[in-house]
């Protein structure tokens, strides 16, 4: 492995890490507000990828323009899932049950996608997916840069919404203490529903970039969710900043392993990091929520 390859791997890791950070932030937001682990997040990313695929192949809509359709669609899906299933779980063992419920949702999504699209791999196509830009001596497809830029903007927006708006304060309040938030006049049910909607809506963007940078099929959601879970646990469940940091860290590490060793073993980085961190610090690196949640 040359130094060149290493630098290339690091750059690519940071760029894809941004997109993973976005998807993981959605997962972390849902967990923080609802105490719900959304196993279907991976399947939803794949679903969003297929939506973009259909829009671009059948209707000829540009991938980024298509987001104007897929983001509201995924938001609606999140709201429906929250209203239909998540809020019906009892408080006591809500988290464990939520894993089963969202697992079932993931299986249904996978089944529907397999029926409609079959199990062959597809990849999103566009001019900026196929053309590369010359950067720091490396050739990178434009989509990596555009995806990273979009992820950074959206993460900044998410951060702004959470920490600088009244709605965000409501989310953080319901995250800390449901009863107290209720008492000071926050509509906790509405806040939760919208939070899940937002947490799922980001998968529309994540799914588009994922689908443009990877070939995927209806079963790809499993691989994705296991990575996202590793990121979220490493970052501390419920901590959005932690999810971002962990995403970039793990993606860089796995890309370096892919170059230094073999792409086959790159996913192992996620799990090795997970097992290692949990053995030393069961709450994750930046975990604060997890202490309470346990």
């Amino acid at each position: 492995m040359s130094l060149n390859d290493l630098v290339h791997a690091i750059i690519e890791g940071v760029l894809t890490g941004g997109v993973y950070a976005l998807m993981a932030a959605g997962l972390s937001l849902i967990f923080g507000v609802m105490d719900i682990v959304n196993i279907a997040q991976g399947a939803m990313v794949v679903l969003a990828g297929y939506l973009s695929y259909s829009l671009s192949v059948h209707l000829g809509i540009d991938l980024f323009v298509g987001l104007l359709i897929t983001v509201p669609a995924m938001f609606a899906l999140g709201v429906v899932v929250e209203w239909g299933f998540m809020r019906r779980l009892r408080e006591g063992d809500r988290t464990s049950m939520s894993i089963l419920i969202t697992y079932a949702v993931a299986i249904i999504i996978e089944g529907v996608l397999s029926v409609i699209y079959g199990v062959d791999y597809v990849q999103l196509q566009a001019s900026y997916v196929n053309q590369s830009v010359h950067l720091l001596g490396f050739y990178l497809p434009y989509i990596y840069l555009m995806g990273f830029a979009m992820a950074v903007v959206l993460l900044a927006g998410l951060y702004f919404m959470l920490y600088r708006t009244k709605f965000g304060r409501g989310i953080r309040a319901s995250l800390q203490n449901r009863t107290a938030a209720d008492l000071i006049g926050i509509n906790v049910n509405r806040t939760r529903m919208l939070s899940v909607g937002i947490g799922v809506a980001v998968t529309a963007c994540g799914g588009m970039v994922f689908g443009a940078t990877n070939a995927f099929n209806p079963g790809s959601g499993y691989d994705l969710i296991s990575r996202l879970l590793a990121i979220v646990i490493l970052g501390g469940m419920g901590s959005i900043g932690g999810a971002m940091a962990a995403a970039v860290l793990l993606l860089v590490l796995s890309d370096v392993v892919a170059v230094a060793w073999s792409p086959l073993w790159a996913p192992l980085v996620f799990f090795a990091a997970l097992v290692l961190v949990l053995s030393i610090r069961p709450t994750g690196l930046f975990g604060r929520q997890a202490v309470r949640a346990q």
Partner: protein
């Protein structure tokens, strides 16, 4: 009449004593169960003789394999309240143990291969110790997530380790039995494993060890305070539940005649055994058996009839949602509840002992 305990979380996890009580106390009132048990085993034993059609017996073998798996999964997850979604690790390990040893030791295809099943169980049980040591450091939902993650590690290993032959899989030598009765040896050996598994589950349930497990399910910190060595008990149950799953995996590999990473380490297996236990009744002895009987025979029937497994995914997912949202206590506890409230009503209508009636109603809740 059915007010108080119905509002409890289904597994009784995190709830006070009431969750564990109904089956335990109800048992003492019932007549002994073993005559019924013998009848059921006998019915199973004559099944392939009556329905000797190859398709039917083939469905029956798969169903038995999953009854073993669901019942074994329940020994850990049902009794301790810790949802493990990674038992496909042990299923796959058992499958690969049988496939690899049959190849490397040149075991002649036939009855001799069945002798490898205990080995498959032991390897799976031994593997459960390091896996359990890592996963059981965490609790509740983090535990669930960690078991999922560990599952994916092993799936990755199965794809990439040099001796598994990756996606090409391993072909086993299959016995040269007559096609008409080919399934029967598989059926009877799996039935023996199933009886042993149910006996194990029953023994755990009756024992002090089982009580400690259920104490952990109800309130782990309190159990620890009462002197239960929680880590040792949890790890022991985790290992015990992995052994039959490994044997089921071994039978699966031999019956299928070939084994591939995506089949042996299937995420759907993880969720299937959980669904079976939930459908029948988590933490009960008969629940996982009934759940597996219903679900696996349905799945096999579906697959054979429609030959489209994607449709089956949808049915599976929808069924799972319905069960968890509408019948979170499962078939067996729901029926037991009906039965108990019926008896209570009968006792009161007959002018019988009112306190007994009230007690039963409270228990069944």
């Amino acid at each position: 009449m059915t007010v108080p305990a119905a509002a409890e979380p289904l597994s009784g996890a995190g709830a006070a004593g009431g969750g564990a009580a109904p089956p335990a106390r109800g048992r003492d009132r019932r007549p002994p169960a073993w005559p019924l048990l013998i009848v059921v085993v006998a019915l199973f034993a004559v099944f392939p003789l009556v329905f000797s059609d190859v398709t039917t017996t083939s469905i029956a073998v798969y169903t038995l394999i999953f009854m073993v798996s669901a019942s074994a999964w329940n020994i850990f997850s049902g009794y301790s309240g810790y949802l493990a979604l990674g038992h496909a690790v042990f299923f796959g390990t058992g499958a690969y143990t049988v496939a690899l040893t049959e190849q490397d030791w040149h075991v002649p295809a036939g009855w001799a291969v069945f002798a490898l099943m205990p080995l498959a169980g032991l390897v799976a049980g031994a593997l459960a110790i390091p896996v359990g040591l890592v996963a059981l450091r965490t609790r509740r939902h983090t535990f669930v997530v960690v078991t999922i993650a560990i599952f994916f590690v092993f799936q990755l290993l199965a794809f990439n380790l040099p001796f598994t032959d990756g996606t090409a899989g391993i072909q086993l030598n299959t016995p040269l039995w007559s096609a008409y009765t080919y399934n029967e040896p598989f059926f009877y050996v799996t039935l023996v494993i199933l009886v042993a598994t149910v006996a194990l589950s029953w023994a755990v349930r009756r024992s002090r060890f089982g009580l400690q497990l259920m104490a952990i399910r109800d309130d782990e910190d309190r159990a620890l305070g009462m002197g239960v060595r929680v880590r040792r008990v949890k790890l022991g149950a985790f290992m015990l539940s992995a052994i039959p799953v490994g044997m089921a995996g071994g039978m699966f590999a031999y019956f299928l005649g070939a084994i591939y990473p995506q089949v042996a380490f299937d995420p759907l297996f993880d969720i299937a055994v959980a669904l079976m236990a939930f459908l029948g009744g988590l933490g009960t002895l008969a629940g996982p058996l009934i759940g597996a009987l219903v679900l696996e025979s349905l799945q096999q029937y579906f697959t054979l009839t429609f030959s489209n497994s994607s449709l089956y995914l949808i049915v599976y997912g929808v069924l799972f949602l319905v069960v968890i949202l509408l019948m979170p206590r499962g078939i067996v506890p729901s029926l037991g509840q009906l039965f108990a409230s019926h008896r209570a009503r009968a006792a009161r209508d007959g002018g019988g002992d009112a306190t007994v009636g009230a007690d039963v109603a409270g228990v069944s809740g």
